[in-house]
């Protein structure tokens, strides 16, 4: 059962593996490295924002003889920071790594439904990510039209944009392969007794995320190919008639609509927000239930709210586009849907907060990250409400307020959840527990500096400072009163970078330690912890396919001798 393959070589075991666990680890390592790269780009940008037009220290030579981050290069870093963080970092980590590794283990499956498709998904992602950064080396540098790639600008931008589009097509293809796999796996391969309402919330979130990926990404893939055609084949899908570029009318422009791109893009990119946050909810739910030693409050409410969230995420996209001159009827529709989608988010957050009530909470590193996630995501979500209303959005659109808002959702939100997940499941994956002291240092410093980076953005944004200014706003009189914040944010960012050294050191040092042999260090209830060793058995996962008798969060069951009752325990 544990190994149904013929001879395994190093290559088939670690590189071209079809084992979901190896692929999950491949996704995890690759995504964490890209997160580091994306974060590095941002640290350079923050230097330019704090000290505009001065030479970049230490690594200035990368930017040429003058060692300056010129505006056009700043634009490239901005576009690539967004792209790398979201498409190369967070989604592959949240969905590719966590989803791949844990979903089969948590539902009692021996692997994903399509193991080879799974490997193809990873390698398509890997190739796409390499193509993405090749852009830095083409004439004119990497894509510089923002991570949203709005035409007509993106249509006429330098060659880096073509590379970006090619990379994007690969990345979306990879997501599609992954999403189909998760869906079929969850539907078909659940162990006996694993009914829908016995699924851990984490599996639910991955399942819903898979639907979002499957339905939202193809429009952007199509749009990406259309934009490629505009750039390479002389079509004009997104170029309006009579478009003047650098004083001359573009000959191939005519009949296209730049707004069409915005619709196609945001039809992907708004569900994308939930692709980023749903797996985070899943991870946080597991960790909160485990560390409060009590069942989650409102399991079914969570499932219904997340499903509703998934559906609603497809009808809010145009709240990113109030400034495009849409009519009031359309505006009213999207404002209403946006207000409605905040309800399930509040339900989820409330259920998680209520789950803390009366629990005997263990304040370990994963739990600290999970606890911090709740208010951080709260700030991110609540600051989004004014942006969902056209009247407020007109003032706040494209300001630092928006940057602050979505970073609170994704950085101290999703990223904290992912860190929580790494600390929580590291013993499962490696058989070795990460050091708690280093973990707590990592958490506290990250928490402080994360807020140091993003909180001031709300103040700058309310003052009207635009995003995408290579000089941090120094050319504008209205920014003068709040420009001092740039230095505070930049120092916070660099210190946040330093704080990650605790994490890196922790991982490296722990990997050199001997395995503890402890299978279930957190005393968890779900199959991934109870039915296989840590690290799990080779390809096949289980000695014997488990049978499930109860729900996923049976902690502190009255009358039970121990405070956790595994899902596989008869009763």
């Amino acid at each position: 059962m544990s190994d149904n393959h013929t001879k395994e070589t190093f290559f088939t075991k670690y590189i071209w593996s079809i084992d979901h666990k190896v692929i999950g680890i491949q996704y995890g390592i690759t995504a964490l490295l890209w997160l580091l790269v994306g974060f590095g780009l941002m640290m350079v940008m923050r230097y330019q924002l704090a000290y505009p037009d001065t030479q970049i220290p230490f690594i200035g030579w990368i930017f040429g003889e003058d060692k300056l981050l010129l505006p056009e290069k700043y634009n490239s870093l901005g576009a690539m920071h967004g792209t790398i963080m979201i498409f190369l970092g967070v989604v592959p980590l949240a969905f590719g790594a966590f989803g791949n590794y844990l979903v089969p283990l948590q539902i009692g499956a021996i692997d994903m439904a399509f193991p080879r498709l799974n490997a193809a998904s990873y390698w398509t992602y890997f190739l796409g990510s390499i193509i993405m950064v090749v852009g830095f080396f083409v004439p004119g540098g990497a894509a510089n039209s923002g991570w949203t790639s709005y035409p007509p600008l993106a249509d006429v931008a330098t060659a880096g944009q073509t590379v970006w589009l090619l990379g994007m097509v690969m990345l979306i293809t990879s997501s599609l392969l992954g999403s189909v796999n998760i869906m079929v796996t969850v539907i078909q391969l659940r162990a006996e007794g694993m009914t829908w309402f016995r699924l851990p919330i984490f599996v639910w979130t991955q399942f819903i995320t898979a639907f979002l990926l499957l339905l939202a990404f193809p429009p952007l893939e199509a749009a990406g190919i259309l934009q490629l055609m505009d750039r390479l084949a002389g079509t004009s899908f997104f170029l309006p008639t009579g478009l003047v570029v650098s004083g001359e009318v573009l000959t191939n422009a005519g009949g296209g609509s730049p707004l069409l791109w915005q619709h196609l893009f945001w039809f992907l990119a708004h569900p994308e927000v939930y692709v980023l946050i749903l797996p985070a909810f899943g991870i946080i739910s597991e960790i909160i239930a485990n560390n409060t030693r009590k069942p989650l409050s409102g399991y079914k409410s969570l499932v219904y709210a997340m499903t509703f969230l998934g559906f609603m995420s497809f009808v809010v996209w145009a709240h990113h586009m109030y400034l495009t001159g849409m009519g009031t009827t359309m505006g009213a529709f999207f404002q209403t849907t946006t207000m409605i989608i905040s309800i399930p988010s509040v339900v989820i957050l409330t259920a998680l907060l209520l789950s803390l009530w009366g629990g005997s909470i263990r304040f370990n590193t994963p739990m600290l990250f999970a606890l911090a996630f709740l208010p951080m995501f709260g700030i991110g979500g609540l600051t989004g409400l004014p942006l969902g209303l056209a009247a407020a959005d007109i003032h706040l659109h494209d300001t630092y307020y928006v940057i602050g808002h979505f970073h609170y959702v994704v950085a101290p939100g999703t990223l904290f959840a992912l860190f929580a997940g790494v600390y929580f499941w590291f013993p499962k994956v490696t058989g070795k527990s990460l050091n708690e002291s280093l973990g707590k240092l990592h958490f506290y410093f990250s928490f402080i500096f994360m807020n140091g980076v993003f909180m001031p953005m709300f103040i700058q944004g309310l003052a009207g400072v635009s995003r995408r200014l290579a000089d941090g706003g120094q050319a504008y009189a209205h920014a003068a009163d709040v420009i001092y914040l740039n230095e505070i944010m930049s120092w916070s960012a660099w210190l946040l970078g330093m704080a990650q050294l605790f994490f890196i050191a922790n991982v490296v040092l722990t990997l050199f330690k001997a395995r503890t042999g402890e299978i279930n260090p957190w005393n968890a209830t779900t199959i991934d912890w109870t039915e296989t060793s840590s690290p799990p058995l080779g390809h096949g996962n289980f000695e014997k396919i488990p049978v499930v008798y109860r729900g996923p969060y049976e902690y502190s069951v009255p009358g039970s001798k121990i405070d956790f009752t595994p899902q596989t325990e008869k009763g």
């Binding site: 037009d53 001065t54 505006p71 056009e72 290579a470």
Partner: protein, 234 residues
């Protein structure tokens, strides 16, 4: 301008050789000149503050005697096998205008772009034959050197930050060109003996209404004058 001419002269001293003469002359404008438009630089306080009197557009600079400035005069279809000057031609961004407003440069010759202003410029050249260039020059970046690979007819160089900033550049594969000064005079030195077709280009008249005439250089000097005339109303 003087630097340009001296660089050309220098290059000839270096290349030496053939019997050569100098083509000199004046370009005039016949008719009532249009009034120069005032440049509104209020958008950038640094630009506005750099001019005590309002700056005026340089599209048509003609003095009371009709002497026309910023005209490129050059010989067409000349073969040149000498060296390319290594002395750079300078294009300055000063007071949020380009100086010179019109210039010629040889292919391969360095062009030093200066930013003398305490503000950011984004210099954007729109050649068709050579590679387009487009880069920001923040106030701390004072100079950057570029060059053009191939000869090309006149093209626009503009600033993407300050829409009024515009200048013109022509790239030659020989050194036989000059741009008229405010007195309308020009001088093309070291021209080998022979008969040539000379062209005069002015911004307002554009590439479709250049003037052309034959000039013969023999053992010394030759004179060449051009007269741009105000187009008659139909």
């Amino acid at each position: 301008m003087n630097k340009l001419l001296s660089s050309i002269t220098l290059s000839f001293i270096v290349t030496g050789g053939l019997i050569a003469g100098e083509i000199t002359g004046v370009v005039k404008y016949i008719g009532k000149p249009p009034k120069a438009k005032r440049l509104r630089m209020d958008a950038d306080p640094v630009c506005a503050a750099s001019h005590q009197e309002a700056a005026k557009a340089e599209t048509f600079i003609v003095d009371a005697k009709g002497n026309l400035a910023n005209v490129i005069v050059y010989l067409k279809g000349v073969k040149y096998s000498g060296k390319t000057p290594t002395q750079p031609v300078e294009l300055d961004q000063a007071g949020c205008v380009y100086s010179p407003h019109v210039m010629g440069v040889m292919a391969g010759q360095p062009v030093k772009i200066l930013n003398s202003d305490a503000t950011m410029h984004n210099i954007h050249g729109l050649p068709k034959v050579n590679r387009e260039f487009n880069f920001g020059m923040p106030k701390t970046l004072k100079e950057k050197t570029i060059s053009f690979d191939k000869s090309e007819d006149v093209f626009v160089v503009k600033c993407d930050v300050h829409p009024w900033m515009k200048s013109f550049t022509q790239v030659f594969d020989h050194p036989y060109f000059a741009v008229t000064g405010t007195d309308g005079k020009f001088s093309i030195p070291n021209v080998p003996d022979g008969t040539y077709e000379a062209i005069a280009w002015q911004e307002r008249f554009g590439s479709k209404r250049t003037l052309s005439q034959q000039v013969t250089v023999k053992g010394g000097s030759a004179t060449l004058n051009f007269n741009f005339e105000r187009p008659k109303k139909k």
